[in-house]
Structure formats: structure tokens, C-alpha cells
């Protein structure tokens, strides 16, 4: 085939894929927002939930979602960053690093139900945390880790070797080079990792059902890490599969829309941060 025609076809196909991706998303998300947006009100967002009558809110679940997300991203983020720096900057290609890399990828395939069960046996039962925010956060960290490590390592590796050599040649130590040259250049990729892992974590239910439980603290905005930690996604699963409250469909639709909005918001925030960093 003529390379010119080929080129044209390729471009058309690529555009078609791009448009298809957006169209599909609009159908999915548009449907969810269309159903869910009318439900969102201050009372819904910040009210206490009710299992007796219609009109309950998701306030504590909203709080728990952020609290658990924050704790688990904090825990797994620190470990993942350290491990990724080690893997990309220090580690030689030994069996040990190969083992760590391979096991990180296989950790990504462990079904969330197994992580949940592991969390239940170890954190909830053995370490005595009970169904709690802390137990849920620790178990959720296991889900975040592989994605964070892989993407962080990948973006650290993408930093051109010449940057490092220049920095070292100027007399900087290895740590200074990593901190001031490598990390800032890899920042965009790291943000992608955080967004992906965070988005996945926000929607996760299987792990948290078995570790954070399906009730909330009786106090609004309870920072106690041993309080019950039902999140929005778990509540969604609960009202769809188990709940008997009359307005359960509305609640489910409302939570669906709310989750979309939260992730959209976090994305915009991180993109703004990325842009700012690029400008400096």
C-alpha cells in the first residue's frame, strides 16, 4: 500500500479510537450523572445515613472515603517512592531486584477479595484492629502498592541519564541528584501513578467490606482510626445488594455521581499542580 494512503488510514483510525473513547465515557458517565446529580443536595452530602426511612445522607461515608484514601495513599506512597527510587537508581540487576519487580507485578493480580481476606485475618483479627479505618487503610495500601511502584519506577527511569551525569559531574551527591534533578523531572509520571492508584482506591469495595466494615462512626468526621470505616463505594455495594431502605436506588445513583465528581475534582487539582510545576 502507498505510504501516504496508509498514513491517512492510520490517522483516521486513531481519531476514531479517540472519539470512541470519549463517546463511550460520555454514555457511561452521562448516564450516571443524569441519574445521580438530581439527588445531590447538602442534606445528602453531609447528612447521617438512615436505614429506616428515605432521606438519609452519606456524610460519614464521604469523610471516611477521603480519610481512608489519604491514609492508604500516604502509607503506600512512602513505601512505593522509596522502593521505586531504590529499584531505578541503586539496584543492580540481581535476582533480588528481579524478584521484587516480578512480585510487585504479581501483587497487582491478586484479586481484591484475597487482599481483603488477608487484611481481615491479619489486621482485623490477629492484630486486633477490628473493622476499622486503620484496618481498611492498611489493606487498601496493598492494592495501591504495585501500581504506584511500577509507574514511579517507570517515570524515574524515563529521566535521561545525561541529567544525572551532569548533576554528578557538578559535584552533587547521589541523593542530591535524586532529590533535585531526578525526582522533579519524573514528577509528571509520579502524578499519573497517584491519580490511577487513587481513582482505583476510591472505587474499591471488595477489600474494604472485609476490613473497614459496613457501618460508620456515630460521630460525624470521626478521626479515630479505630472507628468503623464504611466508604462511599462500600455503601453503594451495600444499598444495591443488601440495603432495604426505600430510597436505595436514589442513594446508589447519588453515590455514583458523587464518586465521579470527586475523581474529576482530584484530577483537575493534580493537573493544575502539574502545570504549575512545569512553569516553575
Amino acid at each position: 500500500m502507498n505510504p501516504k494512503t496508509m498514513d491517512k488510514i492510520a490517522k483516521i483510525v486513531l481519531w476514531a479510537v479517540g472519539v470512541f473513547l470519549i463517546a463511550l465515557l460520555i454514555v457511561f458517565i452521562g448516564y450516571m450523572l443524569y441519574k445521580g446529580l438530581p439527588i445531590l443536595s447538602l442534606q445528602f452530602l453531609f447528612g447521617m445515613p438512615s436505614d429506616i426511612e428515605a432521606g438519609g445522607g452519606v456524610g460519614p461515608q464521604l469523610f471516611n472515603t477521603f480519610y481512608i484514601l489519604f491514609l492508604s495513599m500516604g502509607l503506600s506512597g512512602i513505601v512505593a517512592l522509596g522502593a521505586a527510587i531504590y529499584l531505578s537508581e541503586y539496584a543492580k540487576d540481581t535476582w533480588l531486584t528481579r524478584f521484587i519487580r516480578l512480585s510487585t507485578e504479581s501483587l497487582a493480580t491478586v484479586p481484591s477479595i484475597v487482599l481483603g481476606l488477608f487484611g481481615m485475618v491479619v489486621f482485623v483479627d490477629y492484630l486486633g484492629m477490628g473493622f476499622s479505618i486503620l484496618g481498611g487503610s492498611l489493606a487498601l495500601s496493598l492494592l495501591n502498592l504495585p501500581l504506584l511502584v511500577r509507574i514511579t519506577e517507570q517515570s524515574l527511569r524515563a529521566v535521561p541519564q545525561t541529567y544525572r551525569e551532569a548533576s554528578l559531574a557538578l559535584g552533587a551527591t547521589k541523593w542530591q541528584t535524586i532529590r533535585k534533578v531526578v525526582l522533579p523531572s519524573a514528577f509528571g509520571g509520579i502524578i499519573t501513578g497517584i491519580m490511577l492508584a487513587g481513582g482505583r482506591a476510591i472505587g474499591e469495595s471488595a477489600i474494604l467490606i472485609f476490613t473497614a466494615g459496613t457501618t460508620v462512626s456515630r460521630h460525624m468526621g470521626d478521626f479515630d482510626v479505630f472507628a468503623a470505616g464504611e466508604t462511599l463505594a462500600v455503601h453503594l455495594w451495600y444499598v444495591m445488594g443488601i440495603g432495604l431502605v426505600p430510597d436505595r436506588i436514589d442513594i446508589a445513583n447519588g453515590i455514583g455521581a458523587l464518586l465521579i465528581i470527586i475523581v474529576l475534582f482530584i484530577n483537575l487539582l493534580l493537573m493544575a499542580l502539574q502545570k504549575k510545576l512545569k512553569m516553575v
Binding site: 477490628g130 473493622f131 466494615g213 478521626f223 451495600y238
Partner: protein
């Protein structure tokens, strides 16, 4: 750029510190509260049967109105999870809709009956059969009858949609209806009452069973031997498809745990909330 990095780092650290301090504060406040108040207080944790979860959440909500120093922490996980966890001491109450597992007998668990859980057979709305006999249910569920024509309906394939082998609901149907015969493997399995209902509502010719509380307008409820489910029919012994929801404690219940169990088994709660949520109050179960 460097500054921003530092700043975000510092902020993250401050936030973590702040959060953990808050958490610390929360903890000490709770402790103080327990030492000064005189009423029932403390923390009750329960896990187990998902069928009982929505009812217990109602109990929790009503209980909170009476006691402001008690926190109740409810989780699902399944009947055996609840039994296991209460036996090992990781929760105070294990909720179950099946009898105690044989390997947990002799662990000092005390049973508190909570409610009757009735089950109904439901079908997709396009099925034009209204009632089946127990024999017909057995034949359908064991895979002997596979077309609605054989039980007086139209020529349509029967699709069975029900719960997993380990589910308490399935165990009840197996004992009460099948009486030991085996379910056919040729069936769709969903993991909750809500999902079974949705699947049956969208699959022509589908049949399954759910806790009566989940029967709504999206599906059609079948009669059992000509008897429609009602609390009265169960009381009079005409509708046998139900089981007893129970709570297990390790040893006799004490303190807040006892207060909560006393409350959900009290007449006040049983009369006000149990029926309206689709369960059967203990007093209306037929005496055996």
C-alpha cells in the same frame, strides 16, 4: 520547583501528624467518657450474616436514640465469618442465619434468637405461572424440569438464578424445600439478594428465591403450594419456607452488648421495625 517540593512534603507531613493527633485525641476522649458516665456505654462490634445486616442497622439507629454513649460497629462477611469471629473473640456478636458450625460447638457460644427470615420464590414478570407445588419446586431446582410448559406455563426455558453454595439462604432452601436433594449446577449464581433480584428482573423465564424483604415490583412472587407468603401464613404453619436469624455471643452477653441484644429482641423493636422491614417477629413464629 524545589520549594514547591519542600512545601508539598511539609504539608503532607503536617497533615499526617495532624490526623494522627486528632486520632489520639479521639481515643482519649472516648476513654474519659467511659469513666465518667453512668449509663450503658462502650463499643459493640458485630459481624456475619448479610441478610440480617439491614435489620441490625435499623436496630443500631434506634438504639443510638436511647443510648448516646454506645458505639455499634456492624459488618457483613457471611454467617460463618460471624461465627468464626465471635468464637475467636474478634467481635462481640456473630450474626448468623444458619445453625452453629459443628467445629465451633463447645467454644462457649450462646445463641440469641433474633427474627424469622422468610423466603419467597420469585420469577421474571413474563412467567405466567402463579403457584408451584413443593414437588414442582424440587423438580425445577434439581434440573428435572427445564421448561415452563411442564408446569402449566408457556413454552419457555427455565433459567435458575440463585445464591452460592455457601449462602445461608441456599442452605435454608436446601433443607426446607429440597430436603437433602441436590441443586442442579446449571444455574446462574449471584452473591446478594439484591443482585439475584436484578438478574431475575432482566432475564426472561428466570426463577430464584430471595429473602421476602427484597421482593418488590420489579419481579413476580410465586405462591408455595398455593399459599402466598404472609406473616400470618407462617404463624399458622402454612408457609414453611423461613429460617431463624440468630446472634451468637461468647458466654452470656454483658454491658453494652447485652443492652443491644435486649433492645433488638424487645417487643418495642420487634413490633415497630421488624415487620415493616419484611422480617417476622419472634413472637409470631410458629411454636415448635
Amino acid at each position: 520547583m524545589k520549594n514547591l517540593f519542600k512545601k508539598t512534603g511539609l504539608m503532607a507531613m503536617a497533615l499526617v501528624l495532624g490526623a494522627s493527633m486528632f486520632a489520639g485525641c479521639g481515643g482519649t476522649q472516648d476513654k474519659k467518657a467511659t469513666s465518667t458516665a453512668a449509663k450503658v456505654e462502650g463499643k459493640v462490634t458485630a459481624s456475619g450474616s448479610t441478610a440480617l445486616l439491614p435489620l441490625l442497622k435499623v436496630g443500631q439507629e434506634e438504639f443510638y436514640k436511647l443510648h448516646d454513649k454506645v458505639t455499634i460497629n456492624l459488618s457483613g462477611g457471611g454467617s460463618f465469618t460471624g461465627q468464626k469471629q465471635v468464637a475467636s473473640g474478634s467481635v462481640d456478636i456473630g450474626n448468623s442465619d444458619v445453625a452453629l458450625a459443628s467445629d465451633l460447638a463447645g467454644k462457649g457460644l450462646v445463641q440469641h434468637n433474633l427474627v424469622g427470615i422468610p423466603f419467597v420464590f420469585i420469577v421474571n414478570k413474563d412467567v405466567n405461572v402463579d403457584s408451584l407445588t413443593d414437588k414442582q419446586y424440587v423438580d425445577i431446582l434439581t434440573g428435572k424440569i427445564t421448561n415452563w410448559q411442564e408446569v402449566g406455563g408457556k413454552n419457555q426455558k427455565i433459567t435458575i438464578i440463585h445464591r452460592a453454595k455457601s449462602s445461608g439462604s441456599r442452605a435454608t432452601i436446601a433443607t426446607v424445600v429440597l430436603q437433602g436433594k441436590e441443586f442442579t449446577n446449571d444455574a446462574i449464581i449471584q452473591d446478594s439478594n439484591g443482585a439475584v433480584r436484578s438478574a431475575i428482573a432482566t432475564t426472561p423465564g428466570a426463577i430464584g428465591y430471595v429473602d421476602a424483604a427484597y421482593a418488590d415490583k420489579s419481579i413476580k412472587v410465586l405462591k408455595f403450594n398455593g399459599v402466598a407468603y404472609s406473616i400470618q401464613a407462617v404463624s399458622e404453619g402454612k408457609y414453611p419456607v423461613y429460617t431463624t436469624g440468630r446472634m451468637f455471643t461468647k458466654g452470656e452477653a454483658k454491658g453494652a452488648v447485652k443492652a443491644f441484644i435486649d433492645y433488638v429482641t424487645s417487643d418495642a423493636f420487634q413490633n415497630k421495625n421488624v415487620e415493616s422491614k419484611g422480617f417476622i417477629p419472634l413472637t409470631k413464629l410458629p411454636k415448635k
